[in-house]
Amino acid sequence: MTPKTTTKFGIYGGQFLPEILMPAIEELTAGYEKYKNDPEFTAELDRYLADFAGRPTPLYHAKRLSNAYGVKIYIKREDLVHGGAHKLNNTIGQALLAKYMGKTRIIAETGAGQHGTAVAMAGANLGIETVVYMGSVDMERQRMNVYRMQLLGAKVVPVESGSKTLKDAINETLRDWVAIVENTYYIIGSVVGPYPYPVIVRDFQTIVGNEAKDQIMHAEGRLPDSIVACAGGGSNAIGVFYPFLDDADVDLFAVEAGGSNLMVTEKTAYHSASLCTGELGSLHGAMTKILQNKYGQILESSSIATGLDYAGVGPELAYLADIGRIKPRNVSDDETLDAFFELSRLEGIIPALESAHAVAYVKKAAETGELGDVVVINLSGRGDKDVDSVAKRAGF
């Protein structure tokens, strides 16, 4: 037997799971090891990424935004991936892995509906039964995404427990997996959860950084001074950061949801900034930085961007923050909205509210010179899904 590789990133990560799931996690680990470099698997995945997802996505020099913010800005256009976000990079990869592993049913949790939609697309395309769990509060906030998933043939199951948002949807999906583990593959939507998920999702998202690296070299003849990405669970952030980790001159900024403010109560955080303010603990199968009270109860997080509204963060990002390789930052809901409007008006690109966090931080940091001369923003998704809520907020 080959020696078991570590399941941790420093003190983060691991496999804090019910025993009933451990064999499934071991099966997943073995399945991923078997297929990740399998020529047939990678060739098929490459085809899907090119012809179905629409990759590579452009790296776009945003001239007017650059002028407005006073720093040369390139935007990695993950908003142009089929489905409107980077999420499909991961879901098509995992759905294909599920198929290679002989699973006949895929399940997933979703917050904003972006991941759920991307799972439904992958499930439909590969012809696999798809079930998506979604908090009923989130379903109300993102009704069109619910319909979109149903349109794609997925069954959307409302979750009525707890805060009825993402963390409860994750709990419910894990319960489903516990109940029907033999034929079911759980497609996690971010670099969270037990090992090997943080590695699998990272690997499938690394294509973003690989492309960006080639593209910026082509455009500028050098690496950028900094890369800025929003981080909830952190999959788009680690995806764009990962190929640059060894390039010490490239500063990597993970921008979290600062919400209305950074205050917390006994049960609630008015933000979702786990990297910036969280403490070590175990959530959804991994040790990571989490928003919790003094007794270890998980706080209900909040953000204007549903997709960032999560009380934890990927364990590898927590590790990279500890060793100083990435710089955790946060911006408020209001700063995010300003950036949402500015990118729309200056570049004709309506960003997802999640991605607008990264734009907002560039605006803030460009003033201090922290970002250097050339910055890449990973624009993880488009904002069509948010137009309704922003219009309401703006009194339209």
Partner: protein, 261 residues
């Protein structure tokens, strides 16, 4: 009282153990005291007290709702240990909670608090054997049992590891799924008992839980060779009803206990 001593005592009387789970603090800490006494009067041999966690991924809707009621009523680890300390009962007490609650308090402090408050064992449903080195060390040092689960999906090599690491009793998960009362007993549950014993040669008692709610089920489990049965949701359902709770808890306990005699 020590858990394995309790099982030994029951074995000499040729009885199966009835292990009862309730979530502490549902609906209030005072009610928990009354419920625990009702369980003891009814003949429960071991009492598992749930220490509620906000994200109970291994529990089904019945126990999750109980956990939410307890949290809403203000249950926390400080109150929990005070409550356990105040319980003057003759049966072993076991705490069942999720790892973050233990980790946040500090592994050693948590184990010491168990000792101080008269709790003999700890069950952590989201702590597989691979992640248990730290907690297991403190449990050994302080003489507290760390109780592990074996599931129908657990393959023989893992069973061995789990049996070696655990003490008190081994918690066999009756069927695939989360906690919650069900009507039937899977054939695979009965064969799992033999499989675990045959594979691990363990002398640690085996108790079967998840989905057991009736005397017939309890009786079948003991006849199949288990040392004990664990019943949770059936008690929690009574607590959720809020009607004649101690009386009905005592009655159900008595029926279940007589089925495992």
């Amino acid at each position: 009282m020590n858990i394995e001593d309790k099982f030994t005592e029951l074995k000499t009387r040729n009885e199966g153990a009835l292990i009862a789970y309730i979530c502490a603090g549902d609906p209030t800490p005072d009610d928990t005291v009354a419920i625990v006494h009702a369980l003891v009067r009814g003949g429960a041999d071991v009492i598992e007290l749930g220490l509620p966690f906000s994200d109970p991924i291994a529990d089904g809707p019945t126990i999750q709702a109980s956990i939410e009621r307890a949290l809403d009523a203000g249950m926390n680890p400080d109150i929990f240990f005070d409550l356990a300390h105040s319980l003057d009962v003759s049966v072993p007490l076991v705490v069942m909670t999720y790892y973050n609650i233990i980790f946040k308090r500090g592994l050693e402090r948590f184990v010491r608090d168990c000792v101080k408050s008269g709790i003999s064992g700890i069950i952590v449903p989201d702590l597989p054997v691979e992640e248990s080195d730290g907690l297991a060390t403190h449990c050994r040092t302080h003489g507290v049992d760390l109780i592990f689960l074996i599931a129908p999906t657990t393959y023989p090599e893992r069973m061995g590891k789990i049996a070696d690491r655990g003490s008190g009793f081994i918690y066999l998960v009756a069927r695939i799924g989360v906690t919650g009362a069900r009507d039937d007993i899977a054939e695979s549950t009965l064969s799992l008992i033999d499989l675990v014993r045959g594979t691990t040669q363990t002398t640690t008692p085996l108790a079967v839980g998840f989905g057991i709610s009736t005397p017939d089920q309890a009786s079948a489990i003991i006849k199949a060779g288990a040392d004990g049965v664990i019943v949770g949701s059936a008690f929690v359902n009574i607590i959720a009803d809020r009607v004649n709770v101690p009386e009905r808890i005592e009655e159900l306990t008595r029926e279940l206990k007589s089925a495992v005699l």
